[in-house]
Amino acid sequence: MKLAADTWLVFQRYFSIFIRNPAWVVVGIVQPALYLLLFAPLLKSVAGLSGFPPGGAYNVFVPGLLVQLGLFGASGVGFNLIAELREGVVERLRVTPVSRLALLLGKALRDTLTILIQSAILIALAFPFGLKLQPLGLVVVLGLVGLIGLLFASISYWVALVLRDENSFAPVIFTAALPLLLLSGVLLPMSLAPSWLQTLSTINPLSHAVTAARALFLGHVATADVAQGVAIVAVLAVLAVAGAARAFGRAIA
């Protein structure tokens, strides 16, 4: 119970800092919105090719876009932790009896919530283009995107606690995130890829998440694809949270 109370306290603090500057919600959604407006139309002509998944261009593209939002929206959160390390905030919190797991979870859940708000906006923006989605599918998709956000926010904090320097943090994070994105079939479905690339993409956990999200948008909730995608992301999220929380306990500022 102390963990829940501590997490709630830390979450509230960081959410209140965040909410005072709601512009960030908008800034974070500009990129995915541009993809939606300026890139997705290209897919319409490709959607007819054999091997393109069913559901039409937007029902194939938007689920991937949400996964991308989870990945890129959360990967950068470590930047502000590095600033906090420098400001002594982390050290000050570590000297209190607050649980180290709560320090991580409170922050990462704030980031997760941000991503969920952005996801909801993005889905709303996509409806006029002909996106279709069942309510149950929507709920599970948001849960999946939330887990992806939690996973990458935790990894981002973990890396920030280890590197503790923006100049090394930025290249490490973004160099690692790009192949994850390219091999996930977000931009173009992996079913169009040569077989070696397809094989490579199966080791990428995000490609399973994308597959699950596409199934959910088609209303196929109780399927093996969905179970697999959610399970993979959930297990990784638990590992990342545990690792990052441990790093919080050891942080040497």
């Binding site: 501590d6 306290l9 603090r13 209140s16 800092i17 005072r20 906090e84 420098r86 400001e87 002594g88 905030v89 050290e91 000050r92 919190l93 570590r94 000297v95 209190t96 009896p97 607050v98 040497i252 500022a253």
Partner: protein, 323 residues
């Protein structure tokens, strides 16, 4: 070593860091006893191991070896119990620039388990006590250096700790704000709080601390009350310079019976003598008889810097201010 009356007792506390150039021994086995209700100072140059020791005692950094009792609890076995009883104010503070001082105080109180109403009341109390009314509802980034430091201290005091760690509490402050901080620290002692602080300011150690330890290269080189330490140097200090060779002047004065100790410090020669009033005329006659022209001469009571110099061979003033 488990002394019940001590606020802090350490035994052979050690910390090493692995770096690219091998193992660095930041703290090389420190035995320390801090009494309840005193202001204890750790005086030393940058890199002496002051902050590392402080961070170990405040549960932020695990010791490589050794033991410690902090606020009556075993540091290694029960760090979480230690955390409930201590406050810690780091060198850079710890308040977020983008929130108000008041909300930081309330949040901190809540972290120690206070309910919202109690937390707000406690924050108000500290705002009044530390004279932060004018800035309490502004963002921390607008604070002056002194306001910022007082807020940091308030954050460390929210849960009324019996022991407060202050890491370089006045570094970078103007003289007025520094005097104000000293006042606050003294007031803590009056309220019964034990204070453990680090400083590289001699004046601060001298004016503020009941007892202190001088630390250099991870070791305690001297300890005691400021007066005791100064008495150890004994007598007075004469510093002079001559036209010509320092070495020659040093060789000349060293064997004199009224000179207890002599050393060269750059262009200056430093003498420790029993009585400065009689030694000075002796020195003048001696230099005159050898045809050495005296350029400057000063006579002083020993300071903590002389203590430091005697123990380490370096002047603390020359080690420069903190980065």
């Amino acid at each position: 070593m488990a002394n019940e009356v001590a606020a802090i007792a350490t035994s052979e506390l050690r910390r090493t860091f692995k770096g690219r150039r091998g193992v660095l021994e930041a703290v090389a086995g420190i035995d320390l006893e801090v009494h309840h209700g005193e202001i204890f100072g750790f005086l030393g140059p940058n890199g002496a191991g002051k902050t590392t020791t402080l961070r170990m005692l405040a549960t932020l950094l695990p010791p490589t070896s050794g033991e410690a009792q902090v606020a009556g609890e075993d540091l290694l076995r029960h760090p979480e119990r230690v955390r409930r009883k201590i406050g810690y104010v780091g060198q850079v503070g710890g308040a977020s620039p983008d929130v108000t001082g008041r909300s930081e105080l309330v949040f901190e109180a809540r972290l120690y388990g206070a309910d919202p109403a109690t937390a707000r009341a406690r924050a108000e109390e500290l705002i009044t006590a530390l004279d932060l009314e004018v800035c309490a509802d502004r963002k921390v980034k607008t604070y002056s250096g002194g306001q910022r430091r007082r807020l940091d201290m308030g954050i460390g005091l929210v849960h009324r700790p019996e022991l407060l760690f202050l890491d370089e509490p006045t570094t970078g402050l103007d003289p007025q704000s520094r005097a104000r901080m000293w006042e606050e620290v003294t007031r803590l002692r009056e309220a019964g709080t034990t204070v453990f602080l680090t400083t590289h300011y001699l004046e601060e150690a001298d004016a503020l601390c009941d007892r202190l330890a001088i630390i250099d290269h991870g070791r305690i080189v001297a300890r005691g009350t400021p007066d005791q330490l100064k008495r150890e140097v004994a007598g007075d200090v004469i510093t002079f310079s001559v036209r010509g060779e320092v070495a020659a002047a040093l060789e000349l004065v060293r064997p004199q019976p009224w000179v207890k100790e002599a050393s060269a410090d750059g262009e200056m020669v430093r003498l420790y003598v029993d009585r400065g009033e009689t030694a000075a005329p002796n020195l003048l006659r001696l230099l005159d008889s050898q045809g050495l022209e005296l350029l400057t001469l000063s006579l002083s009571r020993p300071s903590l810097d002389d203590v430091f110099l005697r123990q380490t061979g370096r002047s603390l003033r020359e080690t420069g201010p903190a980065a």
